[in-house]
């Protein structure tokens, strides 16, 4: 086990015991690994083969956490953090681009090329981010489900596992979240809110 692995494994453990400082020390480690992996995937990339969030998160987990020594809850926590980080990375990037369009200095992020590469996606990530915040106020679990599924690419079952709820609950919340977000996003697009 290398030292980064030891560090992350222990931080996860302390965090699940309520040490919030552990999360603050953990975040940069996971963030760094996600960025590094993203870069590696890109260099290997060939046409028709794109970076996958699921693979990214799983691989980061395998690399950063000592598999023989990890408690199940820690794994769930890890996926939770990774999903939030990917969301933050992408949304920050999207905001940066918006700022650039308005003539301000673009926020340079090293994940830039990751976001440029995948297929064209009409979805406005900044609007989605705001909508998710609004959704979280009403129903935090739903917002986390969207984070895990959309940003970390987890399946229904994996999401259920991470949140310790049943797949049926994930499905129901997912349906409601989609409906709500679609309506909210259409409203934002139309009303410019």
């Amino acid at each position: 086990m290398d030292s980064a692995q030891e560090g992350v494994t222990q931080l996860l453990a302390s965090w699940s015991k309520g040490d919030r400082g552990a999360l603050e020390r953990l975040t940069p480690l996971v963030y760094g690994e996600l960025k590094r992996l993203a870069g590696r995937y890109l260099r290997r990339e060939r046409p028709g083969h794109t970076l996958q969030a699921t693979a990214l998160v799983h691989e980061a987990f395998l690399r950063l956490v000592d598999q023989r020594n990890v408690e199940w809850q820690n794994r769930a926590h890890f996926f939770g953090v990774a999903a939030q980080l990917i969301r933050r990375i992408l949304v920050d990037h999207a905001r940066g681009r918006m700022a650039a369009k308005r003539g301000a200095n673009a926020v340079k992020l090293s994940l830039e090329d990751v976001v440029e590469t995948p297929r064209q996606r009409p979805l406005d990530l900044v609007a989605l981010d705001d909508a998710l915040d609004a959704l979280a106020k009403m129903d935090p679990q739903q917002s986390r489900i969207v984070e895990l599924r959309f940003f970390a690419g987890l399946s229904i079952e994996e999401t259920a596992e991470v949140l310790c709820i049943s797949p049926a609950t994930v499905k129901r919340d997912w349906t409601a979240a989609k409906a709500w977000l679609y309506r909210d996003l259409s409203g934002r697009a139309a009303g410019g809110a």
């Binding site: 086990m1 222990q10 453990a13 302390s14 965090w15 309520g18 919030r20 400082g21 603050e24 028709g48 083969h49 970076l51 996958q52 969030a53 699921t54 693979a55 990214l56 998160v57 799983h58 691989e59 395998l62 023989r68 020594n69 990890v70 408690e71 199940w72 939770g80 953090v81 990917i86 992408l90 990751v114 590469t117 995948p118 996606r121 106020k137 009403m138 129903d139 935090p140 969207v146 599924r149 940003f151 970390a152 690419g153 079952e157 994996e158 596992e161 310790c164 049943s166 797949p167 049926a168 499905k171 129901r172 919340d173 349906t175 409601a176 989609k178 409906a179 709500w180 977000l181 679609y182």
Partner: protein
């Protein structure tokens, strides 16, 4: 929108979308009962859902593994036609061999990213010859395997077009007889593979498909082994089991990570048969939390199939995630039988056969799949089956094994006379006698009450003396002392300036071994027990000796010392056996690599077993046991908490250990032969390091204590003085809204409970009686009628409330997360609390009258209070993070209030009208000060200095409603004493 409203909307939306589009409006109108707004909202969402299409369905960062991208893609020499399934480890596609003119369809299993590819390929190469040789009409053949261009492993198998066996049986409404016959075919296929030395390891309905002509085919034979990294088997299996298998079908040995054999498949076949016969799962799991599953699988006896069919139960289909109600009528219908008739046809033989296949101990199941099939054959032919009910016969045999000389005649005769009584008796015999009601704890009394900490008592073999560790009246270095049990002269065995700890007597009582840690080295020493020359036996690796608990044990035959040691820093600690004469050392236990390791060994009274503590990571310790000779290591606890020390119960049937599994540290007894740990009755909180005399009538233990008291400070000035005090732990004061009473937490009656007293500390009255779990943080409701608090009666912390005048306790939260430190909104409608449910500590609020909780803080929050005017919410950032912040109650920007508030002092502040009072420790020395920071001023004012420590990490501060008085907790004393407990008859 209010959370309850949204909950309601969600439910209606789900139900609405299940209906045909044409029926929705009408249905919804009825369902909304005239609530037009509700109707509009759900309708609008249903429309949005229909319009949303694939919004968010594909993950944001590409989805190259999605089915649409894969279509037409090549995997080795195969071309993918479409995706047909997805599991935890792999996606399965339907494909054809591109160069095969016959266009025979195959199933291609492509391993997901994130798996250990190299390992899988290596394993596959080793196994492929054997797997490819498996040729049986009921086993889907493994045809090929390799890696894709990207290096991703895949396997190619015969493609079976048909439903899973459970669906097939239900769709065709097969009778019990037909199901048993189909199942026997499956057994025959499994038996064939076993004869070639292949164990399936993952038998479940989804791996048995039935083709159109009714032929069952087993999929994935041997695949589980190829995918299962052996390195994990010794470590925590949870992750592996969770990812590799469907936990519902995993055997106890798979969950424990011990040897997998043919018997493992027999077990899973038993689960499969259970489900085919009853339509229910053998275990009712409350959650998918792995430790709960593990516990059910390893410890809970499944209900008899004939009982299960009477159940109404909601079950989740693993493939689809859909929930279904299973009712007796429905189960009967799918089997072409009335429910009662079905029950009777299962009762007896089929009950016994299923439960025999599913026995916890592999060696007590059918010896092979063939034997299981044969017994089912006997059932079908109406002949007597081999399977018997477990209870009487098994327990009688067990009883006879233990008491060979006990009269055979009595055992033979008693069942006729009083079978029920006998059964109860057998049950009781398998339990440690410490837990029997007949063993009466006569008294517990202090043995030493010196200054400082006395710890690690060791009883001499004749029970007359106790050796222990003490730092002396001046609190210098630790030495070994010996004192007669009946009282008398204290004898100091060691005087060295080193730290001498963990004494243990030789079985003949002539010598005492102990650990000595000097400036550099740690070594085991042996000394004559009456004093004399200390002889070093062997050096051991330092560090762990400072921990609580006992570090050495001496085997009953006198030949070995057992202790924890390791060769180098990077290795886990393991238990070694050391020859006390020569110092020769041999490793005994095998902790997983990367673990903190093993410690605290204890020999069983017969000397054949050794129990020890194993710590997979810091802060978590579990009990393990293994034979002293070669044999399997077995885990006894599954708590995920801390265990300080452990020893054997005098009868050798259980382990007595000190654990915080329900809050404070208590002594627990874990039966070795199944059953949950139970608290050793009559012993209070803070007990650890228990040790028994040989006759079992006496137990010595250490009792660590903290005397914390509630102090009072008049804001106007003057010295602080005690307000509420006992010799125990009193803390968490809170004034009633009228300022006349104070609620607080105290363990003065044995356990931490909520108490109420007058503001002057008089007339203290106990309000709760949980009798064990840590119960604390009382908070008055604004009308003074209720007190909210947190407690952990089921192991997880939740918020409760109780009438301030006394009465039944009501539960406010019930999630599996930790919910602690409540506080009321000023309007009395909400209870704020800190919860870990989102994965980090945040402030949440729950409606007092029930309903969904809402997250309040986003950046971390703990211990919240609304301001007196109800406009602001104040909260600490976290349990061990600095800072107090506030936000408007209506929501808005967070503002720092006391950003420098020390970590761990989340319970040492109270908002006032024009500022905030708080406590902070001094940079040096044990004490600190109480401060007032006026809003809009930068510098806090020190009200008073205190030379005693605060109770860090506790809610320990209160401001009176009039703003004139502060209550706060101080630790007046802490230490550890030795105690003796005695039983009326040997436990």
């Amino acid at each position: 929108m209010a959370p309850e409203r949204w909950q309601k909307i969600k439910e209606l939306l789900e139900a609405c979308l299940e209906r045909a589009a044409t029926e929705r409006d009408a249905w919804l109108e009825t369902a909304c009962c005239g609530d037009a707004e509700l109707y509009r909202e759900v309708r609008s969402l249903a429309e949005s859902y229909e319009a949303s299409g694939d919004l968010l369905e594909a993950p944001v960062l590409g989805n190259g593994e999605g089915p649409e991208q894969q279509e037409g893609r090549r995997v080795g020499p195969y071309r993918i036609l479409r995706e047909i399934g997805e599991g935890g480890m792999a996606r399965v596609y339907l494909g054809v061999r591109a160069d095969d003119a016959s266009r025979r369809q195959v199933a291609i299993k492509v391993i997901k990213r994130g798996m250990d590819y190299e390992f899988i390929l290596r394993r596959f190469r080793n196994e492929s010859q054997i797997l490819a040789s498996l040729d049986h009409p009921n086993i889907a053949r493994l045809l090929d395997g390799g890696t894709t261009g990207d290096g991703v492993p895949y396997f190619v198998m015969e493609y079976i077009d048909g439903p899973a066996i459970d669906r097939y049986c239900d769709e065709r409404r097969l009778t019990i007889r037909e199901r048993v016959e189909l199942f026997r075919t499956v057994c025959a296929a499994v038996e064939r593979a076993h004869r070639q030395g292949i164990v399936h390891r993952d038998i479940k309905p989804g791996n048995i498909l039935v083709s159109a002509d009714g032929t069952p085919k087993l999929l994935d034979f041997g695949i589980a082994k190829v995918m299962d990294p052996e390195g994990w088997t010794a470590a925590d299996r949870t992750l592996t089991v969770q990812r590799l298998m469907t936990p519902e079908y995993a055997s106890p040995e798979q969950v424990r990570g011990t040897a997998v054999s043919e018997a493992t498949d027999v077990y899973s076949l038993g689960v499969l048969l259970y489900e085919l016969l009853t339509g229910h799962r053998p275990y009712r799991l409350r959650s998918r939390a792995p430790h709960e599953m593990a516990q059910a699988i390893c410890e809970v006896e499944p209900e008899k199939p004939s009982t299960a069919v009477k159940r109404v139960e909601e079950i989740t289909r693993p493939q689809t995630g859909t929930r279904e109600m299973v009712t007796p009528a429905q189960v009967g219908e799918a089997r072409g039988m009335a429910p009662e008739k079905l029950r009777r046809s299962l009762e007896g033989d089929l009950d016994n056969i299923v439960l025999m296949a599913m026995r916890k101990e592999p060696e007590r199941r059918y010896r092979s799949a063939a034997e299981l099939a044969e017994d089912l054959g006997r059932y079908l032919e109406g002949r007597p089956v081999r399977a018997r009910r477990d209870t009487l016969v098994y327990r009688t045999e067990k009883f006879l094994q233990r008491h060979r000389k006990a009269s055979l005649a009595a055992v033979a005769a008693v069942p006729v006379l009083a079978p029920v009584a006998l059964l109860t008796f057998f049950w009781a015999r398998s339990e440690p006698e410490l837990l029997r009601e007949s063993s009466q704890l006569v008294r517990t009394a202090p043995f030493t009450t010196f200054q400082g900490a006395e710890k690690q008592p060791a009883l001499s073999p004749d029970g007359s003396k106790i050796a222990f560790v003490w730092s002396g009246p001046e609190d210098e270095n630790a030495d070994i002392y010996v004192r007669p049990v009946e009282g008398g002269e204290l004898f100091r065995l060691t005087t060295d300036v080193s730290e001498d700890v963990s004494p243990v007597w030789s079985p003949d009582g002539s010598r005492i071994a102990f650990l000595r840690t000097g400036k550099q080295d740690t070594a085991v020493f042996v000394s004559p027990s009456g004093g004399g020359v200390h002889r070093a036996v062997t050096e051991v690796y330092p560090t762990r000796v400072e921990a609580e608990g006992r570090h050495i044990d001496w085997s009953p035959d006198g030949r070995w010392l057992a202790l924890a040691d390791r060769a180098a820093a990077g290795e886990p600690f393991r238990i070694f056996l050391v020859d006390p004469e020569t110092g020769a050392k041999a490793p005994l236990t095998e902790p997983p690599e990367g673990a903190v390791g093993d410690s605290g060994p204890a020999f069983s009274p017969d000397g054949k077993w050794i129990s020890f503590l194993r710590s997979p990571s810091s802060g978590i310790t579990e009990l393990w046991v293994r034979p002293v000779e070669a044999g399997e290591e077995r885990r006894v606890t599954h708590d995920g908490r801390s265990i300080i020390s452990q020893t054997w119960s005098p009868d050798g049937r259980g382990l007595v250990f000190s654990s915080n599994r329900t809050g404070g540290f208590h002594l627990w007894v874990a039966p070795l032969w199944g059953g949950m740990p139970r608290r050793l009755p009559g012993i209070g909180e803070g007990a650890s390091e228990a040790v028994f005399s040989r006759d079992g009538r006496r137990m010595a233990y250490s009792h660590f204590f903290v005397d914390a008291n509630i102090w009072r400070l008049d804001v106007a000035g003057g010295a602080p003085r005690t307000a509420i005090a006992s010799t125990q732990y009193d803390s968490s004061p809170q004034f009633s809204p009228d300022g006349k009473r104070v609620a607080f937490r105290s363990n003065r009656a044995g356990f931490h409970e909520i108490w109420v007293a007058g503001a002057d500390g008089r007339d203290a009255r106990q309000l709760t009686r949980f009798g064990g779990p840590l119960t604390g943080t009382p908070r008055w409701s604004p009308d003074g009628r209720w007190i909210a608090f947190d407690s952990r009666p089921e192991g997880q912390a939740d918020i409760y409330r109780v009438p301030a005048e006394g009465g039944p306790v009501r539960r406010v939260t019930s999630q599996t997360s930790e919910d602690v430190v409540p506080s009321w909104s000023r309007d009395g409608k909400w209870i704020y609390f800190a919860s870990s449910r989102s994965g980090e500590w945040q402030v949440w609020k729950a409606p007092v009258e029930g309903g969904t909780s809402v997250q309040v803080t986003q950046k971390g929050g703990f211990a919240a209070f609304e301001s007196l005017d109800g406009r602001w919410l104040y909260y600490a950032r976290g349990r061990s993070v600095p800072g107090v912040f506030r936000v408007p109650v209506e929501g808005g920007e967070e503002v720092p209030v006391v950003p420098e508030m020390k970590p761990g002092y989340w319970g040492y502040w109270a908002p006032a009208r024009d500022g905030i009072y708080y406590a902070a420790p001094d940079e040096k020395g044990p004490g600190g000060g109480i401060f007032f920071l006026r809003f809009r001023e930068r510098r806090p004012r020190r009200l008073i200095s205190i030379d005693k420590p605060f109770a860090v990490a506790d809610s320990a501060f209160a401001l009176s409603p009039g703003g004139d008085m502060i209550l706060f907790t101080l630790i007046d004393q802490r230490g550890s004493d030795l105690m003796l407990a005695e039983w009326s008859e040997a436990p």
